[in-house]
């Protein structure tokens, strides 16, 4: 069951790889294409029983488009109450693989031991490099050697073939969690319905969502608040892309090694109303590649690159160093992915510049005339799955463990999972759990929360300003969030169709354009050839199998 890779099996695997792959598909299941039906989805979803164990210092705000800001906490709740009685496990042993963007902690370390003791089961954590995670999972799946418990982030669903792994290699959790059955696991029941929706395929529930949020955004345009404020610049002054361009002129001082911008295309494009993938206008479906506003947006970005306001290292594609440039004040405005505005960011920033303070601009429309907008992402993007070969009692044991891992913010379990054992991995200083050296080494590389976690909250013990800033920004922008078409719908498509959905050639051309190496006209040529080479087949398939049958899901 365990995907142990030792020296012997490695050599075997190298030689046998093609043959292993060949042995793959014993019972070839007919792929069910399309998406979930309304009634099927409703029957599969768990009931929602929100947790009331802790009260937020800054309460959530609901936006007009259905988004809800994350509750924020300024102080860490003291004397956290346990939400799970006894140990959840029954002595079972399971292997779990999760992505980790950071240094992999040593196996069997004191934190893992403490967790296993608290869980009453042996969970062998095998975190794998997050940057290459997509290439690690596919061979395991091809060889039918997925671990007992695996994390499959949903932005790689097409690559993993998640829609085809469910039911063939991943266990159906509907019989355990659908409807009121979830109440057996109160912490899982406190995960909002939208997050569970991202775990349903073919009207059955397969996944367990982590880091769920109703304020799911791809990102924002972030800036050095300390530096811009000193120059008297506030977000209220930036209402259109023209304002951004003017800021570029004002802030760039190349002689001093300071440029106004890092790459912003990924998040600025929304100002032109470029969707994540699809858009429906007048009842007709459009792919983002064929929308005229894409070219308009690119034109602006091309000018930005040519203007000299974009940092040369960004033009050279050195994205890995973009945080370092930002901390050092070499760039002042940058694209920021959601989830990057937190305690660790603050600590890194302050280490480089003691005045460091991150801010984010409000969502805008490109001309500043219509209200700002941003498309919401799925309510959960980090989803874990159990292996289909587990026996029912083993699945129940894992779900009990998941229930423990999903204990709400501030509970005794949450403290152990996120800060380790007191006295060993953290000490309480002024009511703030502060990591010890062992804590930094073993606990801070987050692993268990990738199997299950409570809904996201904003909390940065020891850096309340960060919490206040981020919560205030969310509240100010919550009305800008709108649901895109096919929101939270898991769509399963035939492989040959899914290959058409993204185009490496267009993505390359777009990148070259916003780095000033390709004109908009050249991008348009690449898009035109994509249109000729099967885009209609993709659109036709989507219209017939998804839009006409299930609607937009908005």
């Amino acid at each position: 069951m365990k995907p142990e890779l030792n020296r012997r099996s490695f050599i075997g695997a190298a030689a046998m790889a093609p043959l292993l792959a060949a042995c793959g598909g014993a019972p070839q299941q007919k792929q069910k294409v399309g998406t979930n039906t309304k009634t099927g989805l409703r029957a599969a979803l768990p009931s929602y029983v929100p947790s009331t164990s802790v009260k937020a210092d800054i309460a959530s705000v609901t936006g007009s488009g259905g988004a809800v800001t994350e509750p924020a906490f300024l102080s860490y709740p003291s004397g956290g109450i346990a939400t799970v009685q006894g140990v959840p496990g029954k002595g079972g042993s399971y292997t779990a693989v999760t992505p980790l963007w950071g240094t992999v902690p040593p196996a069997n370390n004191s934190f893992y031991q403490a967790m296993n003791k608290a869980l009453g089961a042996t969970l062998t954590m095998k975190p794998a490099d997050g940057n290459n995670y997509d290439t690690i999972v596919t061979p395991m799946a091809a060889a039918k050697k997925l671990p007992d418990w695996i994390q499959l982030p949903n932005w790689w669903n097409a690559k993993f073939g998640t829609d085809r792994l469910v039911g063939t290699q991943l266990a159906d959790l509907t019989p355990y969690l659908a409807g009121d059955k979830v109440k057996k696991y109160p912490n899982l029941a406190a995960i909002p319905t939208g997050a569970w929706q991202a775990c349903v395929w073919g009207d059955k529930l397969y996944g367990i969502p982590s880091f769920s949020t109703n304020f799911s955004v791809p990102g924002y345009i972030t800036y050095r608040r300390d530096i811009l404020e000193a120059k008297g610049i506030t977000p209220d002054q930036v209402k259109s892309v023209e304002d951004y361009m003017n800021l570029g002129k004002e802030l760039t001082d190349a002689k001093r090694g300071v440029w106004a911008f890092d790459d912003v295309y990924t998040y600025m494009g929304f100002a032109w109303d470029i969707p994540l993938k699809w858009k429906v206008e007048g009842g007709k479906l459009f792919h983002k590649y064929e929308l005229p506003q894409l070219l308009e947006a690119l034109d602006w970005h091309y000018k930005l690159a040519k203007s000299g306001y974009l940092h040369p290292d960004a033009i050279a594609g050195r994205n890995a160093d973009s945080n370092a440039r930002f901390y050092a004040g070499k760039v002042l405005i940058s694209g920021g992915g959601a989830g990057g505005w937190h305690l660790a960011d603050y600590e890194s920033g302050v280490a480089a510049d003691k005045n460091y303070r991150r801010g984010a601009f409000d969502y805008i429309s490109h001309d500043g005339k219509s209200p700002g907008r941003m498309y919401m992402g799925e309510a959960a993007r980090i989803i874990s799955y159990l292996n289909i070969n587990l026996k029912p009692e083993q699945i129940e044991e894992c779900l009990a463990i998941a229930n423990y891992l999903a204990a709400p913010y501030g509970s005794a379990e949450y403290t152990l999972i996120n800060f380790g054992a007191e006295g060993v991995h953290h000490t309480m200083k002024d009511g703030v759990p502060t990591a010890t050296e062992d804590g930094k080494k073993f606990v801070q590389a987050s692993t268990f929360p990738f199997l299950a976690s409570p809904p996201l909250v904003i909390s940065n013990p020891g850096a309340d300003q960060v919490t206040k800033d981020y919560a205030a920004w969310q509240a100010k922008n919550v009305n800008a969030l709108i649901k895109p078409v096919f929101w939270n719908m898991n769509i399963s498509m035939p492989q040959q169709i899914s290959l058409l959905e993204t185009s490496q050639a267009i993505d390359d051309a777009i990148k070259d354009c916003y780095h000033g190496k390709k004109t908009v006209a050249e991008v348009k040529d690449v898009i035109d050839s994509w249109k000729k080479s099967g885009a209609d087949r993709l659109k036709g398939w989507m219209t017939e199998n998804v839009l006409n049958k299930y609607g937009t899901g908005q």
């Binding site: 050599i11 190298a14 030689a15 046998m16 790889a17 093609p18 043959l19 792959a21 060949a22 042995c23 793959g24 598909g25 070839q28 290439t135 596919t138 061979p139 799946a141 091809a142 097409a158 690559k159 073939g161 085809r164 792994l165 063939t168 190349a254 002689k255 090694g257 440029w259 940092h311 040369p312 290292d313 033009i315 050279a316 594609g317 050195r318 994205n319 070499k330 492989q495 040959q496 290959l499 993204t502 490496q504 050639a505 390359d508 990148k511 070259d512 780095h515 190496k517 390709k518």
Partner: protein, 305 residues
């Protein structure tokens, strides 16, 4: 040479050589020959979740798509162009370096220089390119110096027109030192008595180089050239992958990055396999042709029957 010897006698005679080569053969069998079964996928619509047996047959469809793709032909011509530039500008440098180093009399100086030029070989491409970016990039030391003196800047790191020169320069900086090893070994094998005799007959340094050193190196040079031609379609992968965004994908696209982006990265594995197989077949033909050519010049080349 083998006349009169039975296979058994030859086995006995070469026993130690065969034992020495065995691990390498085993390694090749496991990591190079056995996985070759996977080329079948180039003739399929391969889906890793279904497996090789059950994936649909595509016949030559993947190859038809490949040959119909203008980006593929661009990647091929770009690869050949880069390979040609490197052959002209890179290939002679280790030979010249080796001869220069060989002429240095002080052993201490020679060892020092040798260590310094070896060192970059052990750097990863990520590091090498970071160093280049820090020095020559648009915000690098050189351009900041130009800016501070109110001079026009020159960002060579993002210029697609000079990219071939840039990657060759990076290659020379990183690998030229390492490349001299084999030539130094060949130089050491030249009988010093020849130089002494030539000098006694009044031959100057140039004549000695022309009539003794270069002929002494000829076999190795031809061997390296054969290998180089065989690898003409493998100009490197990481170096281009890392700098692809910097100069735009057109300047940096080589066959290996093409197969990666249009095959593996987009999960179109069969298409990637077809591109890879095409590259391997051409490389095989190249190395065979280069070897034949070497024979016609009277050299051993890579192998001889």
């Amino acid at each position: 040479m083998n006349e009169g010897l039975t296979r058994r006698d030859r086995l006995r005679r070469d026993r130690s050589l065969l034992i020495m080569v065995a691990p390498a053969v085993v390694l090749l069998l496991i990591f190079s020959y056995a996985p070759m079964v996977g080329v079948i996928t180039a003739f399929q619509y391969y889906d890793p979740l279904i497996g090789i047996w059950d994936s649909d047959w595509a016949g030559l469809d993947q190859f038809q798509q490949l040959f119909a793709d203008s980006r593929f032909w661009h990647a091929l011509s770009n690869t050949l162009y880069l390979s040609f530039v490197q052959l002209i500008l890179f290939f002679p440098i280790p030979i010249v370096l080796a001869m220069l180093l060989n002429s240095v009399l002080s052993e201490r100086v020679r060892n020092f220089v040798q260590s310094v030029v070896y060192l970059p070989h052990f750097f990863s491409w990520v590091l090498v390119i970071t160093i280049f970016q820090q020095m020559l990039g648009g915000a690098g030391a050189f351009n900041q110096w130009l800016r501070s003196n109110d001079l026009a800047t020159w960002d060579v790191m993002t210029n697609p027109d000079t990219f071939a020169l840039l990657v060759t320069f990076q290659g020379v900086w990183k690998e030229a030192g390492w490349g001299i090893i084999v030539f130094l070994a060949a130089l050491a094998a030249i009988n010093p008595g020849l130089y002494e005799a030539a000098a006694a007959d009044g031959a100057g340094p140039w004549r000695r180089m022309w009539h003794i050193t270069l002929p002494g190196l000829r076999g190795v040079i031809v061997l390296m050239l054969v290998l180089r031609l065989g690898g003409a379609l493998s100009v490197g992968f990481e170096q281009f992958l890392i700098q692809r965004d910097a100069v735009g994908h057109e300047a940096a696209e080589v066959l290996d990055t093409y197969a990666f982006y249009y095959g593996i990265a987009t999960t179109n594995y069969s298409f990637g396999a077809a591109a890879g197989l095409f590259k391997s077949v051409i490389s095989l033909l190249l190395i065979w042709g280069a070897n034949k050519l070497a024979h016609s010049f009277g050299e051993d080349g890579l192998y001889r029957k």
